[in-house]
């Protein structure tokens, strides 16, 4: 898609030809419009390189190579960790991007050091503890150096650690750490105005809600607890949309992902043996997905439009494959929702004309 400056340049040519704007104003107007800030290719490569360097250290430790004794490996990994952290401290004031990437690498190297300790002391028997410790370490580094990438790594480690939870029957043994880490990530993304962290935290929040629901072992009639989560994320998405309208730089990211979460929880609430009445749920699902698609197009938010389109397709497929729901019933559901969509569109058009 052409940038605003390119589109304005074309518009200016047209306005000058129509005599609306003097030709001498063209250059000053264009000079006054700033190009949107873009991540340079070299910076993007630095982020990718840093990430891969950290993963390489983790893989090196995981390979359990016997060419160097474990003590030597431990010393080497610890020296790399302190070296990378020192480099991040050196870059702290003068190169913020380098500081961010180096603290991400330091977080990954610290996780490798924990992995090596786990190999020697069989902490791997408690994989959750190792992953949570790596997550806490990454969070501490992130907070110390204001590194959004390190906090994103922290969320990832904690999420994987929670997924490794000990299970007691159908229940998780202890509450998920992500329930604290994800809201903290949202708050930091907001405070630091970091879009990458906003992506990570906005995805982590619904995951934390899911873990909490599993841990709480809530089994309400007609999956009302899952509907409650869908409602909550719908509310959060609405708030994020309002904030985006006030030009907050990260609200748009959260808006997109929480729409995905709302639709995901709504769809999941109608599945399984104890769900709500099938016809009602499927009809609402269709209407909601169609509405979200329209909203995404209206707001020019591809992430929201994609969520609507994906869940619309999911709803149609589910209706067609629903056992016990005949094709006549399916046709009725499609027809009712289609009529509602057409009526809604017509009403909006009339209001716009008025």
């Amino acid at each position: 898609m052409a940038s605003y400056k390119v589109r304005l340049s074309a518009d200016l040519d047209r306005w000058i030809a129509d005599g609306l704007v003097p030709e001498t104003s063209r250059e000053p107007i264009l000079a006054g419009v700033a190009e949107p800030r873009r991540l340079e290719a070299s910076a993007a490569l630095a982020v990718v390189g840093g990430l891969l360097a950290g993963v390489a250290v983790i893989a090196f430790v995981a390979a359990n190579w016997n060419g160097i004794p474990r003590l030597g490996r431990f010393g080497l990994v610890l020296a790399i960790f302190l070296g990378v952290s020192g480099a991040a401290a050196w870059c702290a004031e003068r190169r913020p991007l380098a500081r961010n990437v180096l603290l991400l690498v330091a977080s990954l190297v610290f996780a490798a050091a924990i992995g090596l300790t786990g190999q020697i002391f069989d902490i791997a028997g408690e994989p959750r503890a190792a992953l949570h410790a790596a997550g806490l370490g990454a969070a501490l580094l992130a907070l110390s150096g204001r590194s959004s990438a390190a906090f994103a790594a922290s969320l990832l480690f904690i999420a994987i650690g929670d997924a490794e939870m000990s299970w007691l029957g159908d229940r998780m043994a202890s509450p998920p750490w992500l329930a604290l880490a994800a809201p903290a990530g949202v708050a930091l993304a907001w405070a630091w105005r970091s879009k990458p962290l906003a992506h990570a935290a906005a995805i982590a929040l619904p995951l934390a809600a899911l873990y909490l629901m599993i841990w709480g072992d809530v089994n309400m009639k007609a999956n009302l607890e899952v509907f409650g989560l869908a409602l909550a994320f719908g509310g959060l998405a609405a708030i994020a949309r309002q904030l985006e309208a006030q030009d907050h730089p990260v609200a748009g990211v959260a808006y997109g992902w929480w729409v995905w979460a709302m639709l995901g929880f709504f769809a999941a609430a109608g599945l399984g043996p104890h769900g709500p009445p099938v016809l009602l749920h499927r009809a609402l699902w269709l209407a909601l997905a169609g509405g979200v698609t329209a909203l995404g197009l209206h707001d020019r938010r591809p992430l929201v439009t994609a969520a609507g389109a994906v869940f619309l397709a999911g709803a149609i497929a589910t209706i067609l494959f629903d056992l016990g729901l005949g094709l006549m019933s399916a046709a009725a559901v499609f027809a009712v929702v289609a009529a509602a969509a057409l009526a809604g569109g017509l009403a909006l058009r009339r209001r716009a004309r008025a």
Binding site: N64, P69, R70, F74, S85, G125, S144
Partner: protein, 191 residues
């Protein structure tokens, strides 16, 4: 506090915590009481994933032998497991919810879960006791892992025995020291 100082402080704190953990665990493992626990052979292909050996601590009970005291009702809850040293390895001699009660069932006690199955009325059926004491994997390099896998597969034909060597500390926690497979001992060391 300036940004560089904060970063250095965080990094040094994390390094110190890790070094402290390593030192504490090394001291605890060296100071604990050593016990050999019977290890069950499983399909070697299932045993090795990457460069570690999955450990399943299962002691076979002879046909007609009942479950140890406290394990008759199969509690499988976190409690205290009593061990009684034998000529080859330590046998599970009982289980209790409280440490003091478990200590009356055997000279060595450790924290963990145990599950037992036995049918003493049937002379043709052997029972077993499985332990979950937080010791699940033995990490090693590929060559040693493959040698252990071979020895474990040999054991299936009755030619070898397999034990996990643990160190039980004052806190009742079992820490893995190594494994003995086919009479060959491999320890977790720094070297």
């Amino acid at each position: 506090m300036s940004l560089p100082v904060r970063i250095w402080a965080a990094a040094l704190l994390l390094a110190a915590l890790l070094a402290g953990l390593v030192t504490r665990e090394t001291l605890a493992r060296n100071a604990g009481q050593e016990a050999r626990l019977a290890m069950q052979t499983v399909d070697p292909r299932g045993l090795l994933t990457g460069h570690y050996v999955d450990l399943q601590l299962t002691e076979a009970l002879a046909p007609g032998v009942a479950c140890p005291a406290g394990l008759e009702s199969a509690p499988n809850k976190l409690g205290w497991i009593a061990l009684r040293p034998g000529p080859d390895f330590a046998h599970v001699s009982g289980y209790a919810a409280r440490r003091a009660d478990a200590a009356r069932l055997g000279p060595m006690v450790m924290r963990g879960k145990a599950y037992c199955y036995a049918a003493p009325e049937r002379r043709d059926m052997a029972g077993w006791v499985t332990l979950d004491i937080g010791v699940r994997r033995f990490h090693t390099d590929q060559a040693q892992a493959e040698a252990l896998a071979k020895a474990l597969s040999d054991r299936r034909t009755g030619e070898a025995t397999a034990f996990a060597v643990v160190s039980v500390g004052q806190d009742g926690k079992a820490r893995l020291k190594g494994v003995i497979v086919g009479g060959r001992r491999a320890d977790l060391t720094w070297y």
